[in-house]
Symmetry: C2
Subunit: 234 residues, 2 copies
């Protein structure tokens, strides 16, 4: 192997990528904003085009920038948030992972639901109801509802008003997808009824009710998982 992809601690393109991040943060560029064109960026950063392009590709790979054909370079919609922010794909013991994900969600989501019940306005509540209905119709059509289910739980995070919660979506999606892969039966009716209970509590601004409904929802999921795992390894 020659030295081209060997380290030199930090390659130039990596340093330029770090400078680009600092540029975005300091200049107050927001999600979806357009960056200066390539020529201007090369001048500002004092680098050649090929280095800039490599740095931009790295940041596109990390979902910080998006390159739009014929249009330019933009800040991504959720800058810095990858499909797998915690590297869960690299955890091999999927049975333990899916249980630990439910435990993690039992820490985070009941209180999130309680905050959502206190804070949601009528527009947000309607968005939550629409997502609950989308999950129900996917279940009725026997289609995968993992993505819509994660969107429902992420919407609750958004309603809680906490800036961090919406960024947990990829983790919720991993959890729900792994769960759906293991527990194909008996969770569908339960999903519909417990989502409805959560929505109802939030509609009534019943923080404790929303928290309890979420604890029940996730505890039932955990019970299904433990039952599944016991059947596979009696």
């Amino acid at each position: 192997m020659d030295s081209t992809i060997q380290d030199k601690q930090q390659p130039l393109s990596e340093r330029i990528a770090t400078e680009l991040i600092a540029h975005i943060v300091q200049s107050g560029l927001q999600q979806g904003d357009k960056l200066p064109n390539e020529k201007v960026l090369c001048e500002q950063l004092n680098v050649g085009r090929s280095t800039l392009r490599e740095a931009v590709r790295m940041l596109a790979s990390r979902n910080i920038l998006v390159v739009k054909h014929g249009s330019g370079i933009y800040v991504s919609d959720k800058p810095g948030l990858s499909d797998d922010p915690l590297g869960l794909a690299f955890i091999r013991d999927k049975e333990r992972l899916v249980l630990d994900l439910v435990d993690f969600r039992l820490m985070v989501e009941p209180r999130t639901a309680a905050l959502a019940a206190q804070k949601a306005d009528s527009k947000q509540l309607q968005e939550l109801k629409d997502l609950a209905l989308e999950v129900e119709s996917l279940i009725a059509a026997k289609k995968s509802h993992a993505r819509a289910d994660a969107a429902f739980h992420t919407k609750l995070g958004e309603l809680s008003g906490n800036l961090i919660m919406p960024n947990l979506e990829p983790i919720l999606f991993s959890s729900i997808e792994l769960f759906a892969h293991m527990c194909t039966q008996n969770s569908r009716e339960e999903t519909i009824s417990s989502h409805r209970q959560i929505v109802k509590a939030i509609e009534s601004h019943d923080a404790i009710g929303a928290m309890d409904a979420m604890v029940m929802h996730l505890t039932l999921n955990r019970n299904s998982l433990i039952y599944f795992i016991k059947q596979v390894h009696p």
Copy 2:
């Protein structure tokens, strides 16, 4: 701008990066394991060297691979985990962010401490004590203790036995670093005494005591933050 860094939806190097991830996961390569050499990888993936190199640089930028000078390509120690997995650097309202981070930690860490009290063995307990002492000596030396403090809280996550908790370290570090930036006084003594209480409860396998000590620790942090923010914006 010409087409070189424009999308074509997914550039070849990005597709090869995705294939490399699948290769790592499927072949069961673990953190720190060495990949086949460049020539073999090019053959396996049916690509040229320059494309492979770009894909490897992308994955190094995402902390999935590490390229060691004169040695080869390795799986990173915490594959896929970046310094900023949730893109917090791009959230501009730092005062709201730091409060929301404490709220997030109030969801996650009390129960984590309780699990640690139930599960920690004597070796792990010693590691926790060592980290608590490191924080204390840094505080005594008036040096920054943010990194050591995050390591203490991450160790608690490790002791909880939950696979996900250790991966939250970058989020804990962001929280502690932002907090230290705002609340320079009055938090040092509180940090020492509440870390000691947490360690003592875990040593006694007192799950409820550990949970309560963590709630108190984080609530005091939150109070300090609210006090600081009120002084800045009276």
